[in-house]
């Protein structure tokens, strides 16, 4: 079947099988490999992308279901060569290690900040609780989101966890 959707602002049309998962559509058909495939059961969140502005797990959405909708992936976070503040937050606060959960975490965190610009720590933990990170123990991810929130509010004063290279 033919499916047409907007991915990171660009309209794409492809012939696909009706059963094709959105995660494989993005990765195998569009070569957008930033969205990862981790568990098949919607538990790990490595495949989180936006569907019309809301985070969804692309391993349990059919590509066909995304037809006519807007999809945004981690590759769409950087705008005009400028990193999104959430991306910078993860870098500055060591919010990633192996980098496999990172794209999904970034998309969920960006969506959180869009609806709640100054989330509390429990709100951040709740927002990312549908996602698994095996490396960071989450504390640095929470700080990364707080960093981005402060950056966007113009209130960032605290020292980063790390120093620029």
């Amino acid at each position: 079947m033919q499916v047409t959707m907007t991915v990171n602002g660009e309209q794409v049309t492809r012939d696909v099988e009706g059963r094709l998962l959105l995660v494989h559509f993005l990765r195998d058909h569009l070569a957008l490999t930033g969205t990862h495939w981790g568990c098949d059961t919607s538990n790990c969140g490595a495949c989180a992308v936006w569907l019309d502005g809301e985070p969804v797990k692309a391993c349990t959405v059919l590509a066909a279901m995304a037809g006519g909708h807007e999809v945004r992936t981690v590759e769409g976070l950087e705008q005009f060569g400028e990193l999104d503040s959430i991306q910078r937050g993860f870098m500055h606060c060591h919010g990633l290690q192996c980098g496999f959960c990172t794209p999904g975490m970034l998309m969920t965190a960006r969506a959180l900040l869009d609806r709640n610009p100054s989330p509390s720590e429990p709100e951040i933990r709740e927002a990312i609780s549908g996602q698994i990170c095996r490396c960071t123990g989450y504390a640095s991810i929470v700080r990364s989101v707080q960093w981005a929130a402060a950056e966007e509010a113009g209130t960032r004063t605290s020292a980063d966890v790390g120093s620029p290279p």
Partner: protein
């Protein structure tokens, strides 16, 4: 302007900048290593989704491989019919065990020198075992075709219970081994039985405790996979695979498949977490290689989560009986233990050859005792192979859990505070290097300040007062302490090898004419940040800023030989190699600098980044100046070759022994038995620290593992051998809601033999935290009179215990 002059000016101004940069970012965390909390060099690609993981790879004409797995745990293969699968229009190849057997490839050696089936030929021995594979045009078609393969099994009784496996009536799992008539895998012992028995016989107090460290799984977020690309024209095989040890794998492929080693290139690209899960060679890698050999095309295999959980390296699965002897006033005298180890269907333990039980022999922990003894029996069962994984430092997780639970049981018996008991028994600084009663030499340690620092951060006295108040109100609050000594950085060649390969690591450093550098190392990062840490080590040694040092790893064609990354060995072994190779380069640079400055070598002073004439700092050359001179026109001093590069192979003198003190604070809901980890204080001593940001990250991750194992994680099986943890809906891993905001601290006791005094740290928290959590929960449950409950302390299991019916998980 000539090129060299331009280059000299550029490098000179750049090196000046480098000096300023170095000064600007000197870490203020009291670390002697420069550049401290430098942000990671690998992050820019990951935050953009530009990491390059195995499954991201797309090669022209690439085919996809899927594996058919055994649905039962034990059964004889009667017949395999692949005709319908072969008829599928998108299928290119179907391979069975019988077909591999014709080519002598049906079996492969494990890292413990056992044999493991690549594809089953005679029997299946665990649920999820590889039976056949399909190569097809796309990943969906490959999986469709698996459904078309018809395998008839004669089902056999599954041996699941490790205690029953040695019963003479038990079915024999490994009838492939000649003359094998039971499920016995090996026996092992360590320590002095007679001396230990004597100490126990005269001790005031002996406490005995059975405890189970259940089977758990590392479950890295990226599953295992490979892309094999065999070029029939020049006979070269390129294998991209999820491996923590690319060089060791290459050698084993050469031995197993008979391909010349120089024609095999193993590439381990970005790896989405390893934790020991990606140390072994899995049948899937061999299948991918065979698939590419037979089709002439690149073949990709990516396992799904169920395959990862049911067939790849598990961890632990030890049933331990522990005994601790002490005086009435709390002096620990001896520890004795007996272990029943479940090794699954094949002995796939990834540990140095002489250490079939890994480093479990360090079960005497951090204490000054008189005697110790351990016996162990390992058995085969109808479960997946593995055993050494999940950041266990070769079984030190089990050892630390045993001793730290025993010490708490003893404290309970003696009605002593567990901190007081530990303080009374910790090794003292003047005892190092310390030889344990089981023969391990701890390189350095200063334990009491580490424990005191944890107590200070926690405000231990205040916590005990709070607990007392809460107990009076019927609330269940617990404080758990653990103290651990790790043994990481395997290892000295005289003692340690894996399948005959010495556990050394190579490093090669090239400084380019313009003063930038490439460091090539044999270890491989799975998220530990080697590209950053190793650049920092070299920067510290030769003064080139870390931004100008590229770290190359994970490609056997691009890096010197070495055994890879596991057992917290990267900084301990490859980090040492990086420092020493940089010093070798610096030594050569010194000779060139002396010619450039026209003074003798003895009159030169090194001041990170430049040589100057002693007493005349203005007369100097930078390392970048020297690099240009080393490669530039004109003669070099007599006997000096051109270029500025060096290579070494580092053989560690000993393991390094990081230690730590952990305090966990929990609340247990008396109505639901739900445990909440409210606080966790971790004070780690990993010697000289390189990048404290990265160290804290490693510790945070390990603490999360510990909470997971203590409270949630178990790979359980039913009586038929069905794995009950085959998805992330069943195998529970902590999310952000199950863990607190970690509180970390540190002390620094340098390693005396590591060139920069560093020790490994990657697994410290995974090793040290589970007993702290369990000790905390048991402390909370003091009013219930429970001395021990086995992990995982899920609400249902804990509820049973609180109601007088504690059950082991297996």
């Amino acid at each position: 302007m000539s090129f060299s002059k331009l280059a000299r000016e550029t490098t000179h101004s750049f090196s000046k900048l480098a000096r300023e940069t170095t000064q600007r970012f000197v870490d203020n965390d009291l670390t002697p290593m420069g550049h401290g909390r430098m942000l990671r060099k690998e992050d820019p690609r990951f935050i953009r989704g530009k990491g390059r993981f195995i499954d991201d790879l797309q090669l022209p004409g690439m085919l996809h491989l899927a594996i058919l797995r055994a649905p039962i745990a034990h059964g004889r293969i009667v017949s395999v019919d692949v005709s319908a699968a072969e008829a599928h229009p998108k299928v290119k190849l179907v391979v069975t065990g019988a077909m591999l057997a014709e080519r002598g490839l049906a079996w492969m050696p494990t890292l413990s020198n056992d044999m493991q089936a690549v594809l089953a030929t005679d029997k299946v021995r665990f649920q999820g075992q590889e039976v056949a594979f399909v190569v097809a045009e796309d990943r969906y078609a490959a999986r469709d075709a698996l459904e078309l393969i018809d395998v008839e099994y004669e089902q056999l009784p599954a041996v699941v219970n490790v205690r029953a496996a040695l019963d003479p009536s038990s079915p024999v799992i490994r009838d492939d081994l000649e003359g094998k008539t039971d499920n016995h895998c090996f026996d092992w012992e360590t320590g002095d039985k007679a001396a230990t028995d004597a100490v126990f016989a005269r001790a005031d107090v002996v406490v005995r405790q059975d405890m189970v460290y259940p089977r758990v799984h590392p479950a890295p977020l990226e599953t295992c996979g490979a892309v094999a690309d065999y070029d029939a024209v020049d006979g070269t095989l390129t294998l991209w695979s999820t491996t923590q040890a690319p060089h060791a794998h290459r050698t084993l492929y050469a031995v197993v498949a008979g391909l010349p080693e120089h024609n095999i290139r193993v590439i381990s690209p970005d790896i989405g977490g390893g934790f020991g899960n990606k140390v072994p060679i899995y049948p899937g890698y061999i299948c991918a290689i065979v698939g590419s050999l037979l089709t002439g095309k690149p073949v990709k295999w990516t396992e799904d989560r169920a395959e990862n959980l049911t067939s790849t390296a598990f961890a632990r699965d030890y049933i331990m009986h522990g005994e601790i002897a002490a005086t009435r006033d709390g002096k620990i005298l001896a520890i004795r233990t007996n272990v029943l180890a479940d090794h699954g269907a094949f002995n796939g333990v990834a540990a140095p050859t002489k250490y079939p039980a890994g480093f479990f022999g360090v079960f005497t922990g951090s204490y000054d005792i008189q005697a110790a003894y351990c016996t162990m029996t390992a058995v085969f069962t109808n479960k997946a192979p593995g055993g050494v994984a999940y950041s266990c430092s070769f079984r030190i997780t089990e050892a630390v859990y045993l001793v730290e639970r025993l010490v708490d049981c003893l404290a309970d018996e003696l009605k002593m505070d567990p901190v007081e008991l530990r303080l009374k028994n910790l090794l003292r600084p003047e005892q190092f290097p310390y030889t344990t009663k089981t023969g391990w030499v701890y390189d350095s340690g200063n334990y009491e300040p580490t424990l005191r620092e944890a107590l200070r951060i926690a405000d231990y006295a205040a916590l005990r007062r709070e607990q007392e108040d809460k107990r009076a109100r019927g609330e269940l609050m617990g404080i758990g302490v653990s103290f651990f000594t790790e043994a990481v950085g395997a290892g000295p060649r005289k003692d340690m090898d894996i399948l005959g390969l010495g556990m050394a690591d190579g490093a090669e450093l090239r400084v380019h004419p313009t003063g930038t550098a490439v460091l090539r190392v044999s270890c491989q990062t799975q998220g530990q940040g080697h590209e950053t840490t190793f650049a920092q080590i070299v920067a510290e040694e030769i003064g080139i800023p870390p931004a100008d040092i590229k770290v190359v790893h994970g490609d056997t064609d691009q890096t010197p030989f070495g055994l890879g990354t596991y057992g917290s060995r990267s900084t301990a072994v490859s980090g040492a190699a990086a420092a020493l190779v940089a010093r070798k380069v610096r030594d050569k640079a010194r000779l060139i600098a002396s010619a450039m400055l026209e003074v003798s070598v003895a009159d030169l002073q090194w001041d990170k980044g430049y040589f100057h004439v002693a007493g005349d700092p203005a007369k100097s050359v930078t390392i970048q100046d020297v690099a240009m001179r080393a490669h530039g026109a004109g003669d070099l001093p007599e006997g000096i070759e051109g270029g500025l590069e060096a290579q070494i192979c580092y053989n560690p003198e000993n393991l390094t022994n990081p230690h730590g003190a952990y305090i966990c604070v929990v609340d247990v809901d008396p109505g639901t038995a739900v445990v909440t980890v409210r606080r966790f204080i971790a004070v780690d001593d990993c010697g000289v620290r390189i990048n404290p940001m990265i160290i804290e990250g490693q510790v945070h991750g390990g603490l999360t593992d510990g909470v997971g194992m203590a409270l949630m994680e178990i790979l359980a099986f039913d009586e038929g051998g069905n794995c009950l943890g085959g998805s992330l809906m069943d195998y529970l891993i902590p999310t952000a809601l199950e863990v607190p905001d970690w509180e970390t601290g540190f002390t620094v006791t340098p390693s005396p033999h590591h060139p920069i005094g560093a020790k490994g740290v990657g697994e410290s928290a995974t090793v040290g935290s589970p007993p702290a959590v369990v000790n905390a929960v048991l402390d909370a449950l003091k009013p219930y009179g429970l001395r021990h409950v086995d992990m995982p302390l899920t609400p249902s299991r804990l509820w049973e215990a609180m109601n007088g019916n504690p059950q082991p998980p297996i």
